[in-house]
Amino acid sequence: MQNLVIAATESTPEVSFDFAAGQFALRGESWPENAAAFYRPLLDALENWQPQPGGDVEVNIALRYFNSSSTKMLFSLFDLFNQRAQSGQTVALNWFFDAEDDVSEEFGQELALDFTDLQVNLQAEMAS
């Protein structure tokens, strides 16, 4: 499957989805006016992905800031990875946040509560 690579803008993150390697990343900021329009192609690509059985998946999310409509889309994205994990893949979700940013840390904790089939790792080490 074709890799999905999108450069960052002021209000949208860099996207790097390497389906063959099972490596997925979002880096930067996410506060587009229309979050659904930005995330829909990402969700569609993930839905259409038919991975080799048994491959490990790593998801790295390093978002310095995300707006409320992006949080909804992020939940949808992680739900798709959670479904992959339920069907037998090992999926690690690394949630990077600034150690001083309690809002982002708490959001990561919510993810760990909700997506119990993902290995959620909270990583307080984002360079700000």
């Binding site: 209000s11 229309n34 800031y65 409320s68 940013d101 309690d102 919510e110």
Partner: protein
């Protein structure tokens, strides 16, 4: 509640940003950059910067989505809507104020949710936010929307607001004040 006209007594040198006019995704992005630079120069702590920037984005994106006013236009399927936003420093606080017109339905919903949020403790707001994250968006996405909950979560004092019906057009003016402590 303090009327919006108090804004005229704000000393000009404490104003970091003031805009009145049509809002577009592009000018919101540009204003966001200005606020980031302002907060960096103020050497505000990360958690304060995040809360203030987050509050700004929720406020102006709400204007762009919900403002109802004859002064609106559209371009390439994007509506541009009319409103005002201001960031100023008031003593030890950062203060965001906004003003725009809303229709009758939005007026009732805003009054209901803002009155409710004003009675809730920080812990209750956090809990409502957690629930809101997982809830399906209401059809209009105007309900106890995650945007208002995000704003309520980020401010340091209860949100202040005023809704004043306008006889002329059936709309109401909506004034909102979000206060964030500097430390």
């Amino acid at each position: 509640m303090t009327p919006a006209s108090n804004l005229s007594r704000v000393p000009p040198d404490s104003v970091a940003l003031h805009y009145t006019g049509l809002f577009s995704p592009q000018n919101i992005t540009a204003m966001g950059e200005v606020i980031k630079v302002f907060l960096e120069n103020q050497q505000a702590p990360v958690k304060v910067r995040r809360r203030l920037f987050s509050s700004f984005v929720e406020i102006v994106q709400n204007i762009l989505r919900y403002s109802q006013d004859s002064r609106s236009t559209s371009h390439a399927e994007q509506d541009f809507r009319f409103g005002t936003v201001t960031l100023h420093v008031e003593g030890d606080n950062y203060v965001l104020e906004s003003s725009n017109q809303v229709d009758e339905v939005a007026c009732e919903q805003l009054r209901y949710w803002l009155d409710l949020l004003r009675t809730m403790s920080n812990e209750e707001i956090k809990q409502a936010y957690r629930v809101g994250l997982r809830a399906e968006s209401p059809a209009t996405s105007k309900g106890a929307n995650i945007g208002l909950l995000t704003l309520a979560r980020d401010v340091s004092e209860p949100l202040e607001y005023e809704l004043r019906p306008l006889a002329a057009n059936g709309y109401a003016t909506f004034w909102l004040k979000a206060t964030i402590h500097q430390d």
